[in-house]
Amino acid sequence: MMALQPVSATLFAYQVGFGDCFLLRFTYSDQSTRHVLIDFGTTGLPKGAADAHLLLIAKDIEAQCGGQLDAVVATHRHADHISGFATAANGNGPGDVIRSLKPRLVLQPWTEDLKLAVDSKGPAGSAAAGRLAAARSLREMQQVAEHTVAALDRKPNYFNRKIAAQLRFIGEDNISNASAVRNLSTMGRKNVYAYHESDSGLETLLPGIKVHVLGPPTLHQSEAIRKQRSVDPAEYWHLQSRRAADIGAQVGDGGPVFADHVIAKGGKLPAHARWLAYRMKQAQGEQLLQIVRTLDKQMNNTSLILLFETPNKKLLFPGDAQIENWSVALSKAKYLDLLADVDLYKVGHHGSLNATPKTMWNRFSKKGKASKPGRMQSVLSTMPHKHGSEDAGTEVPRIKLVKDLQSQTNFHTTTALGAGDLYVRVDIKV
């Protein structure tokens, strides 16, 4: 009997506003299909979307895959990638629908391995302890987000409106979604926690397709994922998360360090101190924003980067990976070569500044003029004006990148969908 070969791939890029939700279907030579759901989350639905929009999507996924998902991939823990996996008390949440599709495999990055906490008995300083500390600290860092959002609720006028809005957006994206996390860890028949060059577990489910895990690197594979040097990783991560959590907890009403020397409180400052006090509050808001952004970026850097390679085509799904995550793969010539002829590119991190590395973009050989045969396809799931700012050149999606995508690839974006459209569909012969 001839080995089963994929003949086509179909990508459904669902309209989730600011978030990602991709259903990837491979159709085989015997007309059978395999379905992989890559992320399902949002932090901002488009205007006019129904309350039950995510449920609608979940039901559509159910219909598209015929009630059976082969795999679920949750690239990383951010709400805009996993909030759709949350279950509801009445058993009718979008996550309940996905769970009912009995995925054979749930694939997540190594940092999501919840068992690390109980299994690891490595001595301090060992690789296992470092991994444990890193995974645990990523979870603890979500406390920073929680503290920050709580502080904004408690003191709505403490920071200026612009800073407060950005803090809230990033804060809410980073808040732990316990229901989704739990559902992901238990819904699959098998769980795989992958890292750079590890097995994805997908290949046995997708005959004829090679799946390369390009990221995230482990701590040993990359010191660049965190800027640590000559420090025991376990200790380092512990310190970072603790320090950050403390900062988040103290916005605007940490106890004074010199209680006996307080001469005035915020609202009743003497005239000579007011100008600087106002400026310092804004500076503090910006500081906090920078910290929350850095944590946000670190979480993005735990993203899985998957390359699906069929006999003739390559499909790249990098989640929200930023340059530090990419750097390990891109430092190796074999991956630079492997990536050079990508056919379909899921645009990294909703089109942000640092998620499409220039070294990779410049080498994409299938991009080019509209007339180019076999021209590269790109798919972007995003919503403008939610993240970053044009003034600072950090807007998402980055206008410059979108222009390049438009001019050099067959560009598909969820922002082009009309009201009521559920997804963008991209077909590709593989």
């Binding site: 800027k227 420090v231 950090t394």
Partner: protein
């Protein structure tokens, strides 16, 4: 009675609360410029306001209020006759008093500023409008401290110790305060050094601030003495000569005791958070290819290379001065003399470094430019370098770290800027000597009149950044008087135009519609007769420079990305202290 004192003594921490010398926390009394202070302290250059944004409260100021400097006694001056137990109680009480923290910050900022004014022979303005810089000693709960131009402030954070819940105050670190103050001073002297440019320029701000902080300590002689003796007690000053064994004076021993040792303990508080970064540079082994290595492309890491070259130069200077001293019994030295030589070497090097700023180009500074500037500035005041050979030492040590004073406008023999040689072509007649000493409009007229000869590009918007007098006393007792003028040229371009305008290729992948700002500029040094002595320029039409700059900014996504002055230093310092920076 009118006060006649020029300085007053104030108590500070010579390093930080965790550094103990001879079993005592290293407090020191330092001279700061005398002035009648208001409560804060608030003086003519510094305004301390102790607001804590995390707690949203204002702490009590260090009070002043006497009309005579002499009457405002330092309440924190230690009583040298205290018993050990009383001293310990006094130390605890003082460190827990935010008013002492305020005094400590004030004194170090003023001392650092005075150091610059002494070297340059003029008042030095801050880099913002106004005369007083705000200092917030307990600005917020974060392991960070930074200079913010837009807030006209130095902000010092505090955080919990890695060893427990005890608060650690960045404002109590001598080095951190001196480092931040130097950023503010440097920004006042050279505004253009904070513009996005080559990696060297950004790194210079960091490295230079480290060097000022590190070298400042050597004037605190009792501290240096105690550090040299390590666990041994400093003998009291008396009739007999105080001695130190030569084993404490090897290069390695000094590195460990004074350069690395002092910062070690505070670093431990921040375990894993790189608070010892300031001193880590000393460990950097020289390699001529260091600056080409990927790990030294980021500004703070690259700044360490600069600091390493400077501190190793200092060490060599000191050791060569010690070698010139007589010994006692062949293996011991006069401790006072040894420390005195260290103080002199540090003072000389710091003075050379500060004076060099006047001889730097106003844009796109490289480490090599700075080296040429130091060599030139020093040769102007001390033409004969044969006694200590400082200049040769500097060149040699910088070369070990891959920094060379070479290039078109540098004399390859001396490493100094080439003298201006187009004197015959300059038109002086349409400007007035007296106005040229201080008036930007007059200097602009002069520059414009001579634009062709100076190699300016008249398509650019050109402006005079500064006109400053420089007065320095040479070892022969005479004063060297110069006028230092900086001009900057700016042109906004689209990438499509850069080949035609700058003669350089567009970096790979840069779209034609990318907006690019190109800079050029120069420093004109006029002698006491108002004639150009040096023209230290980064010509707008220098295609190699423009190309390197553009490539770097493009590769690092710094084009068109405005960075607020607040963010700039905050991010760098956060990543040094806690690895939380915006990469």
């Amino acid at each position: 009675m009118t006060s006649t004192a020029n300085t007053r003594k104030l108590t500070i921490l010579a390093q930080d609360p965790s550094v103990k010398l001879g079993g005592r926390i290293a407090f020191a009394q330092v001279d700061v410029p005398a002035e009648v202070l208001s409560s804060g302290p608030v003086g003519h250059r510094v305004k301390v306001i102790d607001f804590d944004a995390s707690a949203n409260v204002l702490y009590a100021p260090r009070t002043f209020g006497r009309t005579q400097v002499e009457q405002d006694l330092d309440p924190y001056a230690p009583d040298e006759k205290m018993t050990a137990a009383a001293r310990k109680r006094w130390e605890e009480r003082t460190l827990a008093d935010p008013r002492f923290h305020a005094q400590h910050c004030y004194a170090i900022v003023m001392r650092t500023l005075a150091r610059f004014e002494f070297a340059l022979g003029r008042r030095v303005a801050w880099g913002f409008e106004g005369h007083q810089i705000h200092v917030a000693p307990h600005a917020f709960f974060e392991a960070n401290a930074f200079y913010s131009e837009q807030d006209r402030a130095l902000m010092f954070g505090y955080f919990k110790s890695a060893r427990g819940d005890r608060p650690v105050f960045t404002c109590l670190s001598h080095d951190i305060v001196a480092h931040e103050a130097t950023h503010a001073i440097l920004d006042g002297l050279r505004d253009g050094f904070t513009n996005p440019s080559t990696p060297d320029q950004a790194a210079f701000h960091e490295g230079f601030s480290d060097v000022v902080a590190l070298l400042s300590v050597f004037s605190l002689k009792e501290i240096v003495m105690a550090a040299l003796l390590g666990k041994g007690k400093v003998p009291p000053k008396g009739k007999s000569i105080r001695l130190v064994n030569k084993s404490a004076l090897t290069r390695k021993a000094i590195e460990n005791s004074l350069l690395l040792g002092l910062g070690e303990q505070f670093g431990a508080e921040l375990e894993g958070a790189r608070a010892d970064a300031l001193r880590r540079s000393i460990k950097l082994k020289p390699r001529p290819d260091l600056l080409d290595m990927p790990e030294y492309q980021e500004e703070h890491d690259r700044g360490e290379v600069f600091a390493a070259a400077m501190m190793q130069t200092f060490l060599k200077m000191w050791l060569s001065r010690i070698a010139g001293l007589g010994t006692f019994g062949g293996d011991r030295y006069n401790l006072d003399m040894v420390v005195e030589e260290g103080a002199k070497a540090a003072e000389n090097l710091l003075t050379m470094a500060i004076r060099a700023l006047d001889y730097c180009p106003p844009v796109d500074l490289s480490f090599g430019d700075f080296l040429a500037a130091v060599l030139t500035a020093d040769a102007e005041t001390v033409p004969d370098d044969s006694r200590f050979g400082y200049r040769a030492l500097l060149r040699e040590t910088f070369a070990d770290y891959g920094v060379l004073a070479t290039g078109g406008k540098i004399d390859p023999k001396t490493g100094q800027w080439a003298s201006f040689d187009k004197g015959d072509l300059v038109t002086y007649s349409r400007t007035h000597f007296e106005s040229m000493l201080h008036d930007k409009e007059e200097v602009f007229r002069f520059v414009w009149e001579n634009r062709e000869m100076l190699g300016l590009d008249d398509r650019c918007y050109t402006r005079i950044e500064s006109v400053r007098p420089s007065v320095r006393q040479a070892p022969d007792g005479f004063f060297l008087k110069e006028t230092i003028c900086e001009y900057v040229q700016v042109l906004n371009l689209y990438a499509a135009e850069i080949k035609a305008v700058l003669g350089i290729d567009r970096p790979d992948g840069m779209p034609t519609t990318q907006r690019v700002t190109a800079y050029g500029g120069g420093t004109l040094v006029f002698d006491q007769y108002g004639r150009i002595k040096y023209h230290i320029s980064k010509s707008f039409q220098d295609s190699d420079m423009q190309s390197a700059r553009l490539q770097y900014l493009w590769d690092h996504d710094l084009l068109e990305k405005p960075r607020s002055a607040r963010h700039r230093f905050a991010n760098i310092h956060r990543s040094r202290l806690g690895a939380e920076g915006d990469a």
